[in-house]
């Protein structure tokens, strides 16, 4: 039965509605640097009555599109730190595969548990957005042997300050651990994992925030692919659902990136915090079975 907000709809209407909401989710995600996943799964579950796992898989493949699309530009500008990315990808990929495997085996048919797993993640997103961070990087972090040996330290051109900024990477091992967690959450919940990787890279590894978010964007494609390959090849992807979702979020993210040039104001941020908290409440109610 196809329905939107409990109203029965035709396949064509459904596809158009999916496109519309996916564009909005993609634009919001790009505005906040979160990727659309945090928004798209709750929208599919709550408004379109899609099973949580089906929604997660559709979101995960669209995440590959949005991150690859925007990462391309960052990579050419030299804002993405490719060495840090490839170092951390080892961990996110292992995490992504584990997350997808947990979902198709242990959690198969247990949608409520998946819905509940969303609650802390969405609340974390809200908290991070609300708090912000005053210090970007420190000039002399504690030395890190792995970072030295793998030459993870880097530099980028800061367009706002109009100068080349150098940074020294530290905490490579806790960085790996955080990346693994991000991978698991990505494979399990269909989000990119930037939610964990960006603050982790910034506050634990001393990577400047702008580089961290460009690098995370670049990594997300590979992280999501690790989980998506498991889902796609094992026949868990609802293709006609995922197609408008992917097309919508990709075009939405281009739209959002345009708007991003004028950075989001405080009031806009507050609005998103409210939306995220409401999302958490709805997913919680679903998870405990008080809302279907």
């Amino acid at each position: 039965m196809l329905e939107f907000a409990t109203i029965p709809v035709s396949p064509l209407e459904l596809v158009l509605l999916l496109l519309l909401f996916a564009i909005a989710a993609g634009a919001m995600g790009a505005l906040l640097g979160l990727g659309g996943g945090v928004f798209i799964v709750p929208v599919l579950v709550v408004l379109f009555a899609v099973n949580v796992q089906t929604a997660v898989v559709a979101s995960l493949v669209s995440v590959i599109g949005t991150s690859s699309g925007s990462a391309a530009a960052y990579v050419r500008e030299g804002l993405s730190d490719l060495r840090v990315a490839m170092f951390l990808e080892i961990a996110t990929v292992i995490g992504g595969i584990s997350g997808a495997l947990i979902s198709v085996t242990i959690l198969a048919g247990r949608s409520q548990l998946l819905a509940l797993a969303f609650v802390p993640v969405v609340l974390l997103a809200a908290a991070l957005m609300y708090r912000g961070r005053a210090v970007d990087t420190v000039p002399n972090p504690s030395p890190d042997r792995w970072a030295d040996r793998l030459r993870l330290h880097g530099q980028y051109y800061d367009t706002a300050r109009q100068e080349t900024v150098e940074y020294r990477v530290t905490g490579s091992r806790p960085g790996l651990a955080i990346s693994w967690c991000a991978g698991v959450v990505s494979g399990l919940l269909g989000i990119g994992g930037g939610l964990f990787v960006v603050p982790g890279m910034n506050s634990v590894m001393n990577v400047p925030l702008r580089v961290a978010s460009a690098t995370s964007n670049f990594m997300i494609g590979v992280t999501a692919t690790a989980g998506a390959l498991v889902y796609l090849l094992s026949g868990h992807l609802a293709v006609a659902l995922a197609a408008p979702v992917a097309l919508g979020t990709v075009s939405g993210s281009f739209l959002g990136a345009r708007l991003h040039r004028t950075s989001p104001t405080q009031s806009l941020k507050l609005l998103f915090v409210v939306i995220l908290v409401l999302t958490a409440v709805v997913m919680f109610l679903r998870g405990v079975g008080w809302l279907v």
């Binding site: 396949p11 490839m86 990929v93 595969i97 330290h153 999501a224 006609a240 992917a246």
Partner: protein
């Protein structure tokens, strides 16, 4: 940078960066991959929408079995689904291709540590494919 001393002890930019051609190659891989996937998805969706059939609703709500043969199905409905599957396959393989390119590039500049790292990521993605294909 606050600490001038720290800046002096830093490796030179040539050392810390990756081969510049790598950035270009990755840029084009990502752009072309996502572009091709978008075209395939649009075509598949159009086919399914304009030749509606009983199977369409199922692909909206349930997982679609994947097989290489399904990518080239004869029926109109099968063609639409095949195009969508092909689109998603291209989308999923795009990051994988960029990992392959990275491994080659790091290999050509004899960066042994990073060649190993990128190859390890590639092996892991291979494991992911096997786990999906043979659950």
């Amino acid at each position: 940078m606050a600490g001038v001393g720290a800046a002096r002890t830093m490796p030179r930019p040539e050392d810390v960066d990756v081969p510049p051609i790598l950035r270009q190659a990755i840029y084009y891989t990502l752009r072309i991959g996502v572009g091709a996937a978008v075209l395939l998805l649009l075509a598949g969706l159009a086919l399914l929408l304009f030749e509606p059939s009983s199977g369409f609703a199922a692909t909206l709500t349930h997982g679609t079995p994947f097989s290489i043969r399904m990518l080239w199905s004869g029926s109109a409905e099968g063609r639409g689904i095949g195009l969508l599957l092909a689109g998603f396959l291209v989308l999923v393989l795009t990051p994988l291709v960029r990992v392959v390119i990275s491994a080659i590039m790091f290999g050509t500049v004899h960066d042994r540590a990073f060649t190993t790292l990128t190859l390890a990521v590639l092996v892991l993605l291979g494991v992911s494919m096997l786990l999906g294909a043979y659950p």
